[in-house]
Symmetry: C2
DNA sequence: TCCGATTGACACTGACTAGTGTACTTTGGT
DNA sequence: ACCAAAGTACACTAGTCAGTGTCAATCGGA
């Protein structure tokens, strides 16, 4: 149950094929339903090879979960930079940012399907590992958003006491709302509906945190 | 895959023993891990009896999910009435209300463990049934909260355009925040921490929706 | 008390799955 | 070309689980 142990074994391309397939199959079927045979088939790899790269189905799952979190965190960091570096129209910029962030869920369907699987398995995942995942993924998202909001506040556009709390609230009012209603994409929502939700969320956020509140 | 079909079969006490046990076991183990044998043992009932009352493991799960939603919806309706009928100090009343609402998660651990299981299974549950569950549970929660907020607004304490949106936002900023961080109770949080989160959420909500914003 | 409905005990089928053992083949670097 | 590391094919163990069949036991109402 060690975590992120370096495993310098085998050909990296095989390892990647395995993790990619594992992410897809775990996401599609959930941890218990996903069979190692199915993952092997999807990866175009012998089952034996999987067990040479990973000790366990469980270790494979956790590895994939952590690696995926890193990828998506990086992608979201880009989205933040794209939208929140230069602020022109704060409301519009926040809406665009949030829409892109929501879209990331559909851009990484395998990963976010896996996120659902992780939340499902939460009670069966050893707490330290679960915490490590939260730290690598969702938490990092908040922590990286906070400085942007702080900088915007310093420019006099927002009035913020605790930037971490503000970041959490913005996330809840936009991304979390949409994810909850779509079950992380399992039940799709029209673009208009998503725009409506996100817009309302950003407006509520601004009423709460804008310095120039009307 | 019919839904809420009347099943006038067998002794009601047996049926209830089964659904109670099923709720507990499904919540603890998740749908796939939970075995019908385990449910039968927990219910003190023969497996055969389960299959006389319910056609399927799946149908049993869905039945339990819908019935549980009704129960909790009723309980939350009571909490709303207790805290939101007479408003003395709006902020304090909303905080107390939200804390009680959050506490409901620990008051009905079986049900909310099941909620996690449902969200986990979302992709494998037929959409109409999933929607029926959302309608019976979470959605009804929102719909019932909205009128209270509207009434408070009519007394001049809140400024609200769309009461449904406001209800959703209040929920997101309090209950959803806590549930997300605790994975619906899987990872406990101290009372202080919960109070901190809920208080911050209510304050943000009031900055956004209070008529007498400071 | 009696009868029909309900339930229990329990063995069983068929299917699936995690993980291993082994002998053979492929691959990549030198 | 050679060799060791890596991968494959495949059979196999041991266990689990949903769902059924059967027949005896039990219960509740008349």
């Amino acid at each position: 149950m060690t975590l992120r142990q370096a495993e310098p074994y085998g050909r990296p391309e095989k390892r990647q094929a395995i993790t990619r397939a594992a992410r897809r199959v775990f996401g599609r079927d959930g941890y218990t339903r996903a069979s190692v045979d199915a993952i092997a088939a999807a990866a175009g790899v012998s089952k034996r090879t999987i067990y040479r790269h990973f000790t366990d189905k469980e270790q494979l799952f956790l590895t994939v979960a952590l690696e995926g979190a890193d990828e998506v965190t990086a992608a979201i960091a880009q989205i933040m930079d794209r939208h929140l570096h230069k602020i022109v129209d704060l409301e519009q910029d926040l809406i665009d940012f949030s829409l892109d962030r929501v879209a990331a869920v559909t851009a990484f369907p395998d990963h976010f399907a896996l996120v659902r699987a992780i939340e499902a398995e939460a009670a069966h995942i050893p707490p330290p590992i679960l915490k490590a995942w939260v730290a690598a993924g969702p938490q990092t998202g908040h922590l990286r958003l906070a400085p942007y909001l702080r900088r915007i506040a310093e420019r006099g556009l927002l009035r913020i006491d605790d930037a971490d709390v503000a970041a959490a609230h913005l996330t809840l009012l936009t991304v979390t709302d949409v994810n909850q209603q779509t079950f992380y994409g399992a039940i799709p929502l029209s673009t208009e509906e998503i725009t409506r939700l996100v817009t309302a969320g950003v407006q509520a956020f601004l009423r709460s945190y804008a310095a120039t509140a009307g």
